[in-house]
């Protein structure tokens, strides 16, 4: 049962990755493509956090450690925080690109945003 519960996050990660990639591949609306990217990002963050889970471990806050417990080195949590910050910056920039493109081209349909080709 525990093994099943512990593997659930990874199932969710896979599902989210494929939903995100699917949105990026098959949606035509630029905003929806960016939503797919955002899903992919969240999936990766979830993967990192799920990797860092240790059963019966406690957070490494030295003043609140109960006796006979193990603290967890919070490397992946730190990675996730960094990845979230980078993700926010990326997404904000791309949404502003989408805004400018809509203003200049009058469309967010990706099939019409192809002045650069050939």
């Amino acid at each position: 049962m525990t093994a099943f519960l512990l593997s659930l996050p990874f199932v969710a990660v896979l599902a989210l990755i494929f939903i995100g990639l699917g949105a990026m591949l098959f949606k035509r609306n630029l905003i929806k493509i960016l939503m797919g990217l955002s899903l992919f990002e969240s999936a990766v963050n979830l993967l990192l956090v799920a990797i860092g889970y240790r059963q019966d471990g406690v957070a490494p806050i030295f003043t609140h450690v109960p006796p006979h417990t193990h603290m967890v080195l919070p490397t992946v949590q730190a990675l996730t925080l960094t990845a979230i910050v980078i993700g926010v910056a990326t997404l904000a920039m791309m949404l502003s690109f989408a805004m400018i493109i809509y203003r200049k081209y009058g469309t967010v349909d990706i099939r019409n945003i192809r002045k650069l080709n050939g």
Partner: protein, 113 residues
């Protein structure tokens, strides 16, 4: 001195110094041949380009634009180009699809081999 210049690939060598020497010799030969030219040439005289007796087209009219260069090359390879250029659609989802496609193929190869 030679060590500074000589480049060896294990099966051949290349010496930029020799090439420079050859270049200088060629320049000297060109200058020598040129010195046999007519001495009575004057600047400004006999300088009009001769295009079968026609006037020289003004303002770059005689300049062959870039698109007309290699017309024959592109025409003879039109079968190749008519397939290749449409691949560069400019559509973002196609770019992502190519990227993920290559990744999927390599995943299969890496896991099988």
């Amino acid at each position: 001195m030679n060590l500074l210049w000589l480049l060896s690939s294990g099966s051949g060598t290349w010496n930029p110094l020799l090439w420079l020497l050859a270049f200088i010799v060629a320049l000297a030969a060109a200058w020598f041949i040129r010195s046999f030219g007519r001495k009575d040439f004057r600047e400004g005289l006999q300088q009009e380009p001769f295009i079968s007796g026609n006037e020289e087209p003004a303002d770059g009219g005689g300049h062959i634009p870039a698109s007309n260069l290699y017309w024959g090359f592109l025409e003879s390879l039109s079968g190749y180009y008519s397939r290749l250029i449409p691949l560069h659609t400019g559509i973002l989802t196609d770019y992502v699809a190519w990227f993920l496609g290559v990744m999927a193929v390599m995943l299969v190869i890496a896991l099988i081999v």
